[in-house]
Amino acid sequence: MVIAVHNLSYSFGSGTLTQPVLKGVDLAIHQGEIVIMTGPSGSGKTTLLTIIGGLRQALNGSVVVLGEQLVNSTERTKVSIRRQTGYIFQQHNLLKSLTALQNVCMTLEMQHDLTESERSCRAQKMLEAVGLKEWLHYLPESLSGGQRQRVSIARALVGQPKIVLADEPTASLDRQSGHEAVEILKQLAKVSDTAILLVTHDYRILDIADRVVELEDGMIKSA
């Protein structure tokens, strides 16, 4: 089990303005499993993902990721989880002043034991794996939407994380390139036995999942 969420609650705001978003979420994901989460807009999918990714501090319930409790955790724990998970954002969120290769290297620059050439070599291989061999030295602005999202997939995977969290990765892509991107993600994840939790509204990509769950009314339902 790489992700074990139990009875997680989360609210925005305080006092009378408190808005409960997650109301007792239970979710368990095994190593290498690909889980798609759907649910209406505003149901709290992004909130849940940011908690699991160590970006947001939850105070009630239990969220164990890679053996670490994230509820009421220290900054150190959260940073450690962030480094061990690959996060794919709805917008590609690439650094616009860096080339594709440099963007992917940013993940590896946190690992100080690698040499510059090792980093560059690994990043290059990963970009080749997502089909961007010819585009290593292009800035994001000169890539298409699908290519950018594939760079961000490469960025998320190059650190060989045990978990990938993806928040509507195909939302800003056309059908064709969206499907391509997710297909690449799936293949690479299967090879490295990486678990994926992918949020989407896009019913055309449900077929890549081992399991589909739905977040509704702040609770998980198996679809």
């Binding site: 992004t46 940011t50 990714g53 970006l55 947001r56 940073v79 450690s80 962030r82 480094r83 996060y87 954002f89 709805q90 969120n93 650094l95 616009k96 002043s97 860096l98 440099q102 940013m106 993940t107 620059e109 946190m110 100080h112 960025r155 928040d167």
Partner: protein, 389 residues
Amino acid sequence: MSIINVWLFPARLAWRQLVHDRPKMIAAISGVLFACVLVFMQLGFKDALYASAASMPLKFDGDLFLIHRQSEAMWRPAQFERSELIRALGHPAVAEVIPLYLSLATFKAMDTQVKRTLMVFGYDPDTDLLNVDAIKSMKVALRVKDTVMFDEFSRPEFGPVGEQLKVGRNRTEVNDYKVRILGVFQLGISFAADGNIVTSDQNFMRIFPNRSMGYIDVGAIRLHPGTAIQPVKAELKTLLNDFVKIYTYEEILEHERLYWENAAPIGFIFNFGTVMGLIVGMVIVYQILFTEITNYRFEFATLKAMGYQHQYFVRMVFASALILAILGFVPGFVLSKGLYYLAESQIFIPMPMTLEKIVTVFMFILFMCATAGLLAIHRLKSANPADMF
């Protein structure tokens, strides 16, 4: 290895982001450059002022010097009785005393007839009080009535005296008194006086009829060779009246310099200019760093979500500041060097570009950029990854 990476990576990212946004980088560099040039010029003028102010006693050949305690600086001395200087002769270590008479006077340029103020030195030429060879070699001629020598390094408004002498033009007026110029020497000017002439003590009295031999401006004392100066100074101090002050050669230079640094408001003006330059530069760099952080806050949040920590971004901001400091300083230095040269050749103020000055200005610029960075860092707090995605 690791400690290098800790700074290298954020610095490299900072550099890539700066280079990516050229116009903004150029704006920031211009700000630093501006501050740099301003500070160089202020310091240059200030040092030139002090150096040239102190240059008046620079050629004095003596061991100890008496001036009236009310003499703030040599360009406006208070006179005291010559007898006070003569009394110093009572000390066995004193070999010789030399009275020096000083006054500002107008000098009529021989070609334009325009009158301008310069400094007149009057002393017995036989004493060689000014250690300037050109004057020493004329000591006999200088004893002739109504003769003077002219400082070639005076401002050009006094006319090309050296050339005029070669074609036989040597008569003009000092303090509306007709004199003959015997020749030129090289001393150098100060902010207080635009030029210098030297004459004998006898001639000095003729040029300034209301002055008398009995009241002097500076008293120079020469000791027997090999005498320790400090003990004699202390003994003379008890011997002489309180209204005179006694200085060694180094001290009288220092006294002149301190006058300009403290008593005259001029030093303050230059310091003020320096501070203003640094503040303007800092505000510009701060503005650039601030908008930079604002523009890049999504990227910072992304990096935070990947596991980068606050310290990394702090280092990035400081690295940006350092890069801007260096990139602004280099052209700023080159430009300032050119301006120094211009000042030396056009307004005849000595402005040496010393290593000390270069280091000082670089430190100022570094400090300025670091402060701007420090102020901009608080903007980083707004990059909270959870609220951005």
